[in-house]
Assembly symmetry: C2
Homo-oligomer: 319 residues x 2
């Protein structure tokens, strides 16, 4: 009984209770201590404590489909009645008939077409409402839970720990900026203005005298690879002190962060846990190859989800 | 003596000591009180307390030249040795010969050419350094003071008062985003990630293995008129509660803000003081015409610098 209480107390003092003790957890805690220690050589003033996080596969689950793509597929079905031509037109036909093979054949071009069709034409206010409604009912196909439950608990603790130490935390993701904003505050405690992502063009207009911002079916910016440091500079205006990712799309963001002067933290999440989440060695998504090679070369921190995370989702029973 | 002490104490309690008592000051104080009063009908949670400020002519002096244009002209002179062709080529020749007539004839197109030539080709780090160096020595031609002294003291008090009441304060300006970031923290207490402005395209690249972000001579986004609500939605992701501007370029930003549900504040600064600053009725800059008409029609707050501001710059002697 007493030892159980001691364990509970130790966990209370531990800012990262869902992390197993190991080199990854240690590298995070030592980094935060070093840059916040006012008398230390690595001290960094709070104004420069910027941390950037990829979202899909880094903060929440991206398998078997990006969550935003699951939303787009559901929207195609919801909007089909208004678009009778979709019944005969790919890639919409594939979605309406749940034809995975035809959908796969449509490739990235097909996906962008689905996203454009379901993410434009409405005002930004309307899109936000549609996203909220979807998150209230949609469920993950494997875990049979709302997508809101699919955030990684260890990363939520990490976000909290960084903010408790004066960091500003930002999402910098290939996902749609407005889609993530629907849930970022509730999921991660990240305000809309600290969410950066891919965006479509928009237009300001007066509709019967009332101002509206309308979403257009045209890509404005694709926030991936070289686009991530570019977006960081545009939105944040200073080089981050710490960066967190999980795929080759995050390599340049980690590079840019790690190459700054003084102590930095660059961290990759490696999906190694087929039992509790997904093992990317046997999956086609989230390619982690070039970034992993650079991580080993430069000594970036690599997190094995299987070994470094005590639990992955908050809904798991604690051991 | 006692009355003097009482006056000093009253001023200490006044969050806006550089504002004369009048309807403009009252509308600001009442708005802030209304949206922060938890038991009131107009209460707004802190997360939605977003305030956006134009910069040129709203937060600092834009006469007789935009400060960024003064920087560009100085840079043309500083870089002339590396560009011998400029001696014979407009609009550069006009700058090098201080030929105001030829410069005027070059128009907006000429100005954009000067800005592109002096704002691109270098890395973002190098540009920031150049900007810092320039602000350390350059002086305003009329006031003979560093440009850092040319911020409006009443607006700095207003920024401070809003932040003290849980607001996040953003700049949303037609000026260059990276140029303003050089000074926004020191001048206004506004961090780089809360500065929004016009931007040029950039490219991420490795220079001898070292990552760099290089500024390209191509416009990315012009943050004026309809562009302002568009940029607000992209960078901030929610509609502001309060907006502050001084020209027709701010009309759509104020419209978008004022049209939101619940209590809002839309405010225009009218340049009416030829003695202490500039009277725009006799100047070609900062056209305030359509926005002023809409302000009167909709009951937005209009500040007369001459009547509403006790002092304009911090360096003025207090009365």
């Amino acid at each position: 009984m007493a030892s159980k209480m001691r364990a509970a107390r130790a966990e209370q003092d531990d800012p990262l209770p869902s992390w197993n003790n190991g080199s990854a957890k240690r590298s995070i805690l030592e980094f935060v201590e070093a840059v916040t220690d006012e008398s230390g050589a690595d001290h960094v003033p709070a104004a420069a404590r910027i941390a950037v996080f990829d979202n899909d596969g880094t903060l929440w689950c991206e398998q078997p489909l990006y969550i935003q793509l699951a939303f787009a597929l559901d929207q195609v079905k919801a909007l089909a009645r208004e678009h009778p031509d979709w019944r005969a037109k790919q890639p919409f036909k594939a979605v309406l008939e749940d034809d995975r093979q035809a959908l796969g054949a449509a490739g990235v071009k097909g996906i962008l077409e689905l996203v454009a069709a379901t993410h434009s034409g409405m005002t930004t206010d309307e899109f936000e409402r549609t996203g909220k409604d979807w998150f209230a009912t949609a469920q993950h196909p494997r875990f049979n839970r709302p997508y809101m439950d699919l955030a990684y608990q260890p990363m939520r603790e990490l976000l909290e720990h960084l903010r408790a130490n004066g960091f500003k935390t930002f999402i910098v993701s290939g996902g749609g900026i407005e889609f993530m904003r629907v849930v970022a505050e509730r999921l991660y405690g990240i305000a809309p203005d600290q969410v950066i992502g891919s965006s479509g063009k928009t237009r300001y207009e007066l509709r019967n005298g009332a101002p509206a911002i309308v979403r257009l079916p045209e890509l404005d910016f694709f926030d991936d690879k070289e686009g991530k440091p570019v977006a960081i500079q545009k939105f944040i205006g200073q080089r981050p002190l710490a960066a967190f990712g999980n795929s080759d799309g995050d390599q340049q963001m980690l590079q840019w962060t790690a190459a700054g002067p003084g102590r930095r933290l660059a961290l990759l999440v490696d999906h190694t846990d087929a039992a509790r989440e997904f093992d990317y060695r046997v999956s086609p998504m989230g390619r982690l190859d070039l970034a992993l090679a650079e991580a080993h070369e430069r000594g970036w921190t690599v997190v094995s989800m299987k070994d470094d995370w005590k639990r992955i989702f908050a809904f798991e029973t604690r051991n």
